[in-house]
Symmetry: C2
Subunit: 253 residues, 2 copies
């Protein structure tokens, strides 16, 4: 429900030794970031921490106080290294309970899949006072505890949980963006970028160089909460590039 002009901010804590060892390429940062943009919420900070209770508690308590929303991914499965629920309950200063609704969901899900054993029942545990985030794929729900949203680490399952939350969180005006590509070295247009940004108070311009097809280019991303300013700033940048005989490519390269 994007509504007010205030800026809503969020942080993400990615929990897992597998990310910090390099074994697994994280995909949740980009998908949470993209989803938050659409909700009108800015992702301001991400921390990746190991499967270690003090590290999780520190990150959660610092970031939930600092932002409107805090998301976590990882560590809510059935095995001994899944300690996220216990760590967040500790951070919140509440006990861990077996959530009756989560238990009912898991009983239904595992009815035809070998039954609800002790390990699977771990996935019904939540911090006291929490509500559930539906998981359409594997039963075991995500958890909302205050402003903390506890999600699965498997990206496809996390995506389903984000989908279930779409439109549920209060957000502000979404940050809009336009991308312009150009076969130019960014150092050749640094002045143009800086001056164009300065001419439009609500706009930021990011410059992202790359090498492709054997030559250098860059994409310039203009961001603003104002659609009018965004259009005007983008037009000014395209005209500035044209004046340097560097044609812009709408949408980026």
């Amino acid at each position: 429900m994007p509504s007010s002009s205030r800026i809503y901010s969020a942080a993400l804590v990615v929990i897992g030794d597998e990310i910090l060892s390099g074994r697994t390429q994280d995909k949740n940062i980009a998908q949470v970031a993209t989803w938050l943009q659409v909700q009108g919420i800015r992702l301001k900070e991400v921390r990746v921490v190991p499967d270690d209770t003090p590290a999780i508690v520190e990150a959660v308590n610092t970031l939930r106080a600092r932002h409107d929303y805090l998301f976590t991914t990882g560590g809510i499965g059935p095995t001994h290294d899944d300690i996220t629920v216990d760590a967040i309950a500790e951070a919140l200063g509440v006990p861990v309970i077996v959530h009756p609704q989560a238990r009912a969901i898991l009983e239904g899900y595992y009815e035809t899949r070998g039954g609800l054993n002790e390990a699977r029942l771990r996935m019904a545990r939540t911090p006291e006072g929490a509500s559930l985030i539906p998981n359409r794929y594997t039963g075991a729900p995500g958890i909302r505890a205050g402003n903390v949203f506890i999600m699965a680490g498997v990206p496809s399952i996390a995506a389903g949980m984000l989908d279930a939350l779409s439109g549920q969180l209060e957000g502000g005006a979404p940050l809009l963006s336009e991308t312009v590509g150009c076969w130019v070295g960014e150092s050749d247009v640094a002045d143009l970028l800086r001056e164009t940004e300065q001419a439009f108070a609500t706009c930021q311009i990011g410059s992202y160089p790359f090498w492709a097809e054997g030559r250098g280019g860059a994409n310039f991303v203009i961001r603003s909460v104002s659609a009018d300013d965004l259009a005007a700033c983008t037009r000014a940048l395209v005209e500035g590039l044209a004046a340097l005989d560097k044609p812009a490519i709408a949408g980026g390269i």
Copy 2:
């Protein structure tokens, strides 16, 4: 130079609005993590922060005090949004200088590429007292300032800088790992995993479920600094899975 039995730790600060907006999928976390493993250094924490001086200063000062090494990626190019060098100099309490050796490198690199303009000269700026990390691709060097290693955000360039640092940092015993895959739900073997881990004090077992080929499986990653313990723990897990009639697949699925 892996040598002692002490554990060396590192942190990484990924700097860039493009990661937090979801526009760019980060690849530096995984590559820095993988490289550090080989150096005998553990990546213990990652933070992703925006192109914002106070956010960079806070992350750098917290993490450089807490770990043996701190790496940063991003924000060292020629444009107005490249503020990493200034922010880290502020964090270190030293002025920014034009590094004579960096200037000479850039003069050579740009001699046949249009010359060293003001924007390109920005890439010769370092915190006072810093040394350089070679960049074999685009001239502009990385920077070492105390225990802080400032690297490019473009993954291929960051990779070259890591390569230049290989074997240069003091590390401890590398964390070794073995992966065992199995077509089993992790919740069916949670007890086995926990008990096997407990039987080998130097080992940790991580459990990573997935869905593929229409059925569920999991990879189990056993980690230890002891090659003997690693082999024994892996053997115990494989035998435990076999006893449940779940054949293990060496190397993972």
